[in-house]
């Protein structure tokens, strides 16, 4: 015993140091690119910062007061929520329909699935350019197909819809996979028992399938609400916030304030709001989950 202890002790200390060395790169990057900027952004949002990123003075909550008095910011805030309200439910609906169509294995399901998840292989900026062409008011396929004359990118009523449709197209591959996986994991016996008890398809869907896949539903909703708070890419590529600021979102405004106007204090204040909102979305979803979700 003594002997074993004697060997163990120096090895343990060596283990301590080498163990720490192994996680050092990850820890270093976490501190450098996540925690440091996080703290710095909060500090900047409470200060006056010059265009080279140096703090000149303390501002307290002035930046936030200015922000909430700013029409422009309120527009970004409303637009971001408007996007979330349009995107999240519609995306869920589309993905549930797709999942219901193929969750029972039959001939051709694998083929259909491949088609549904194909958009996952296209990057945002590529997809955005293709959608720009599809929705082009004069030469676009969409206006022709539906026989309409919508000025998609010049009409404040419609520009956000193009972004919503593009985002659904990009999101549905993953969400569809998650939902179809959840539907398939429901034991056959449960569905058969329901059928024997005379439950029709609709009843089975609302009273058995929906409750049983609710954890996945909540995951998808929480994730997409959070993504909505962070929307910027398609705005940058397709609309640059226009027309008439109708697609200007929070992260897009943060980008403009920070990089175009060199206004780091305001940019950081917006970052803090975005950060709080994205956390709030997750928190709300989890709270809701505790009440409404049925776990097996």
């Amino acid at each position: 015993m003594n002997n074993a202890d004697g060997i163990k002790k120096p090895r343990k200390r060596k283990n301590q140091i080498s163990g720490f060395l192994y996680i050092l790169p990850a820890l270093f990057i976490a501190l450098l690119f996540s925690y440091r900027p996080f703290v710095k952004t909060i500090i900047n949002s409470l200060s006056i910062v010059n265009y080279s990123g140096t703090i000149i003075d303390v501002a307290g909550l002035d930046n936030f007061k200015r922000l909430f008095a700013d029409r422009n910011f309120l527009t970004s805030l409303t637009n971001t929520f408007r996007f979330a309200v349009m995107f999240v439910p519609l995306n869920l609906l589309v993905c549930i329909i797709l999942a219901l169509l193929v969750y029972r294995k039959r001939k051709g399901t694998a083929f259909n699935e491949s088609l549904f998840i194909m958009p996952l292989s296209v990057a945002m900026s590529s997809a955005a350019i293709v959608f720009q062409a599809l929705f082009n008011p004069t030469i676009g396929v969409i206006n022709f197909l539906f026989n309409v004359q919508v000025q998609w990118f010049n009409d404040p009523k419609w520009a956000m819809w193009v972004i919503v449709i593009l985002c659904i197209w990009m999101a549905m591959g993953l969400d569809f996979l998650l939902l179809v996986g959840a539907l398939r994991s429901i034991p056959k016996e449960v569905l058969e028992a329901a059928e024997l008890d005379g439950s029709n398809r609709l009843q089975t869907f609302f009273h058995i399938q929906i409750p049983l896949i609710s954890p996945t539903l909540m995951f998808v909703i929480a994730n997409r609400l959070r993504d909505s708070m962070l929307l910027s890419g398609p705005v940058l590529v397709m609309t640059e916030g226009g027309p008439f600021r109708s697609t200007q979102t929070l992260v897009y405004q943060m980008y403009v304030e920070g990089f175009k106007s060199g206004n780091y204090s305001m940019g950081s204040a917006i970052s803090v709001i975005v950060f709080l909102l994205s956390l709030a979305m997750i928190a709300v979803s989890f709270r809701f989950e505790r009440k409404g979700v049925f776990y097996q």
Binding site: T41, R104, M118, V122, L236, F259
Partner: protein, 274 residues
């Protein structure tokens, strides 16, 4: 589950196929459009099928823009980034399973919790840092914020935990050190998930847009996703060369996707649930 029979199956199959075609139409249009002439792009009714297979647009995209250079930049940053990312995640996952050190649990949470800090909201400060370090227009700058993949670390830790501890004991008795144990035993045993993570990271970095847009100014350092949005053809409704460029960029990932479909599906699903 009862197999669907008769007309209902047929209706479901038809519906699923119609939806599938609608979903993939933009991809088809992108590929078809790269063969369109300018006239075909501006025709009414819009052209759906190119009249001939002409490579004119591809030639223009390659000759008139630094497309090849863009692709090279993306290729370098995505592959180096993906390798560093898996290496960093593997090392820390390994330590969290096989090593004992102070504040292990806390440090694990510290690294994992970076998941909650959205990169896009931190981008201003990270940009200032990168520019102060003089890393604007460098590959390291492009890769930097992608180096940590907390979800991958978490998943790898779960997998390493499932390797029986007797392997570790047997290896130590045979005088096999940590590094050799990691390279010779742990890595081969988790090869398939690591491959998925490599692919996933590659695609993440290859597809990223906002960050490389910020940290590159020089045209020769632009990544492909940023580069294609800077091709000015689209303003003149001359989408042909842009579509050709996009097709060149997207086709490899579609092929990869079809070949590795099953694995990517597993990876995507498990990765996002991690």
């Amino acid at each position: 589950m009862k197999r669907l029979t008769g007309t209902r199956t047929i209706v479901v199959m038809i519906l699923a196929t119609i939806f599938g075609l609608v979903v993939t139409f933009p991809i088809y249009y992108m590929v078809a459009g790269s063969f369109f002439s300018i006239r075909e792009f501006s025709s009414f009714p819009p052209t759906i099928v190119p009249s001939t297979i002409r490579l004119h647009n591809f030639q223009r995209a390659i000759n008139e823009s630094p497309l090849i250079r863009f692709m090279l930049n993306s290729l370098i940053s995505a592959s180096v980034g993906a390798i560093l990312r898996i290496a960093i995640a593997t090392l820390s996952a390994f330590a969290f399973v096989y090593k004992e050190f102070k504040a292990k649990k806390l440090l694990f949470i510290v690294i994992l919790a970076t998941m909650l800090l959205p990169a896009d909201a931190l981008i201003l400060e990270n940009y200032i840092l990168i520019s102060r370090l003089g890393l604007i227009d460098t590959y390291l700058g492009i890769i930097s914020i992608h180096l940590l993949a907390p979800v991958q670390m978490f998943m790898l830790r779960q997998i390493f935990k499932s390797i029986p501890i007797t392997y570790r004991e047997a290896a130590s008795i045979d005088g096999c050190g940590d590094v050799r144990f990691l390279i010779r035993i742990v890595t081969p045993m988790s090869r398939s998930i690591m491959l998925i993570f490599l692919l996933q990271s590659f695609v993440t970095i290859w597809n990223s847009y906002l960050w490389p847009l910020l940290v590159t100014n020089d045209t020769t350092m632009r990544t492909v996703q940023v580069g294609i949005t800077l091709l000015s053809y689209a303003e003149n409704l001359d989408f042909g060369p842009v579509f050709a460029a996009i097709s060149l960029v997207v086709l490899p990932s579609i092929l990869l996707f079809l070949v590795f479909r099953k694995r990517i599906v597993e990876g995507v699903v498990s990765g996002s649930l991690g």
